[in-house]
């Protein structure tokens, strides 16, 4: 107990990083609480079944700092987070908590030491309510009777603090991915932790939600909580973090104060080479190019009267707040979500409602944004996942040729740069970004004429993002039409020649040419502006 780090009142100048504190002129209280190292790791190595993924990595976390952990997909960020929070034990190396060597207890028991994790993979039980999830394992009870009212109030308070409208009595299984992520965050934040690991918490969040989260994170940081923040969004990292550590291929590359780096240099450290322009040259399709998809008066449970068409070789963006109905509209078009009324035509052929086989046969492919529960079989290997949608190509009369499937996998791994250290790994054990690439590869196996991608770069590193953008552009040049649904404004602006904005289930605007900019899109999606859509 005597080694309890110097109380938060002490000013520990010696251990402080002068550059880091200089970046935050606004925070007078910070020097008082920051400084001493809370958690550190030395020469951490980790192997899974003999495949090494971390190579002697050093890492330290100071009191009251936000430490960003960066690296390409599969660099080992999530693995390091798991090792530092006890979810995985290191193969070798030591971890120190408050300067003393510790062996962190497994399965989240490190929570008792004040260490909590917001996982990249959600860890919520689908059948519990939001309140039950938040208080799981630490239910408030008087004489054995649960104090439901108190727990509900408390949950509401935390959710309000995060600016979230989720009902505290909603069942987890009924929430969208973004909402689940908010619950995960609320759960971690409500636990009075000293150290919070956040593994890509913002990947599924909108800008507004992200801002609310950052506000809370800063507040807690100023009170002395330490954060480890993993994200592929460089602007967020430069905006929020105090220090950055970069990993490449499981090796430590650099730790530096954020103020000394900018997005560009972080990206370079991550990929180990210079990156050329992120977005490809836009090429607009001819005005008289044939229409490949037209949607007329489409209604679903939430979407009202959607009209739009897509031309051959066009990249059409769909923007809007989370919950604006973009995914529902796309799933209704793809035949995955019931339609109430309306018409969908591919070429001239009228598509029957709710028939994904028909739309797929007509050449439309839809890539879900929910890769964990709708995209990939987490317990199956890469091959079964890759070819699941296109088994007909690999043999006749229902027979599957292993050689043909192997070839397809080799091709897809090259084309989409899917990196795994062990080719027989099951999808659930791949790094998040590589799962995303596998999902894209799977959808592309049916060689679609129309590709609808919902959040194409969720959880993908900059280098790969660039690859995917160029890939989409190349597809369009070859005559494939692409619809990109994305909550990332720069992505949609950088890629698309036409952008549809949705709000509350309706298409409220279609932007072209010079109108395509962040302010204009915001105006439409926030409901400040609306124009009649042909």
């Amino acid at each position: 107990m005597e080694s309890e780090p110097k109380g938060s009142g002490d000013i520990v100048v010696s251990a402080r990083d002068d550059v880091a504190s200089a970046t935050h002129e606004d925070s007078q209280i910070m020097p008082a609480t920051r400084g001493d190292i809370v958690l550190s790791a030395q020469r951490i190595s980790k192997s899974f079944n003999g495949v090494q993924v971390l190579f002697s990595v050093d890492f330290d976390l100071r009191r009251g700092e936000i430490h960003a952990l960066m690296g390409e997909n599969g660099a080992g960020k999530s693995t390091l987070v798991k090792v530092l929070s006890g979810f995985e034990q290191p193969t070798s190396g030591e971890i120190f908590l408050d300067g003393k060597p510790v062996k962190l207890p497994p399965n989240g028991a490190a929570e008792a030491l004040g260490i909590v994790v917001i996982h990249q993979e959600f860890n919520l039980a689908e059948h519990l309510t939001v309140t039950e999830s938040l208080f799981l394992g630490r239910e408030v009870a008087h004489f054995g009777l649960l104090d439901r009212k108190f727990m509900r109030r408390e949950t509401r308070r935390v959710l309000d603090m995060l600016g979230s409208h989720i009902s505290e009595t909603a069942v987890i299984g009924s929430l969208t991915v973004a909402d689940k992520q908010m619950v995960e965050i609320a759960k971690a934040i409500s636990r009075d932790a000293r150290i919070v690991f956040m593994d890509e918490p913002t990947a599924v969040l909108s800008r507004g939600e992200t801002e609310a989260l950052f506000k809370q994170v800063r507040k807690l940081r100023d009170l002395g909580t330490s954060f480890v923040f993993v994200s592929h969004k460089l602007d967020e990292v430069t905006e929020l973090s105090d220090r950055v550590t970069v990993l490449r291929d499981g090796q430590w590359v650099k730790t530096a104060p954020t103020a000394m780096l900018d997005g560009e240099s972080i990206a370079q450290l991550m990929v180990g080479r210079e990156l050329s322009s992120l977005y490809p040259q836009k090429s607009e399709p001819n005005v008289d190019e044939t229409r490949v998809l037209s949607v007329v008066g489409l209604n679903t449970a939430h979407v009202r009267d959607a009209h739009f068409d897509l031309r051959k070789g066009e990249i059409l963006g769909f923007s809007g707040m989370i919950g604006s109905g973009r995914t529902e509209l796309m799933e209704a078009i793809a035949g995955l979500y019931p339609r109430v009324s309306g018409e969908v035509r591919i070429g001239n052929a009228l598509m029957p409602a709710g028939d994904i086989q028909a739309t797929a046969a007509a050449g439309l492919a839809y890539m879900t944004k929910d890769r964990k529960s709708k995209g990939l079989l987490l317990g199956s290997d890469m091959t079964s996942n890759l070819t699941l949608q296109s088994l007909d190509q690999h043999g006749r009369w229902g027979y599957l040729s292993p050689a043909s499937e192997r070839k397809a996998l080799a091709r897809a791994r090259r084309r989409f740069d899917i990196r795994v250290r062990d080719a027989s790994v099951v999808a659930g054990r791949m790094s998040g970004g590589n799962q995303q690439k596998l999902l894209l590869a799977k959808v592309m196996e049916i060689t679609p004429k129309i590709l609808i991608i919902d959040e194409p770069t969720r959880g993908i590193d900059v280098g790969t993002k660039q690859q995917i953008y160029h890939f989409i552009a190349a597809l369009a040049r070859e005559g494939c039409s692409v619809i990109v649904v994305s909550s990332e404004m720069p992505e949609i602006i950088g890629l698309c020649t036409r952008i549809v904005v949705m709000r509350a289930g309706r298409i409220v605007g279609v932007l072209e040419g010079d109108e395509i900019n962040e302010q204009e899109i915001m105006r439409y999606s926030a409901g400040l502006k609306q124009k009649a859509v042909a």
């Binding site: 192997s47 002697s56 193969t91 699941l388 088994l391 043999g395």
Partner: protein, 336 residues
Amino acid sequence: MGANVTTEDQVEPKRRWQDVDLRAVAPFVALALLLLLGAMVNSNFISLNNLANVATRSAFIALIAVGATFVISSGDLDLSVGSMVAFVASLMILFMNSNAIADPGMMIAAAMLLALIVGALCGLANGLITTVGKIEPFIATLGTMGIYRGLTTWLSQGGAITLQSAEQQDLYRPAYFGVILGVPVPIIVVLAVTSVAAFVLYRMRYGRHVVAVGSNPNVARYSGIKVDRVRTTAFVIQGVCVAIAVMLYVPRLGSTSATTGILWELQAITAVVIGGTALKGGASRVWGTICGAFILELVGNIMLLSNFISEYLIGAIQGAIIIIAMLVQRSLVRKS
């Protein structure tokens, strides 16, 4: 990559050993242990003759369990198989007794075809009730279990239905008691059916679909797989497997009754679970299933040959085995 040679040296040899999927191997290890135990209990046990006998007797459960592997891999459960055996068998015998066809050979062939059709239809009913009716498979097949059993009791008026024509019986007997190249026919049938099943599960599109539907129906749907059709087909395959079991069962006794096949569903499910197929779907191990069925019969055989456990405890032991198999499976999952 090779930057850190020292640590890699340490892990390299471990790898081979861990690469082996323990769940796939476990049933065969258990089988080897049982054979060893049996040999210690009674020297007759290990004789080829005895083992062939045991294998022959395990044929019914093995065949049914092959079908159950499909149903369970696709995430469902069929509790009606025991009653289905009784129902299909009584229809088959009643048909043979009807003397609708004069030539006994033709008659048997027609009766076998009838059994296949009835089995497939029973499976189809199970499948449609679960998928179109959207009723939990547990409840749906609990219902049809009662229906098939009740129909059998009514057909047999509570007694037995027996094959009457001696000519037919003599002609049909070899289907169970016959030996080809020294191997009893039932063993050959089981091996053939399992080979076909393994081919379908591991080498055909349908097998991939079964595993996809069993491990995550949502992913399957988003991949354009007709989930309900895949599930229903698995139930039909189960029905066909039951019918094949009946084709071997009828020549054995030439008779069936309202109590035929009672608790066979428990044994079939146990065989599947021992074999390493995950009960919540997603992994199918059909050779493991066969091994499981053999293990079940072996346990009974060992108890019979040993003098210290009453054979009346067989049911209890089999019940215990399914629980142990589940526990072993779970601990193996955690390790890998």
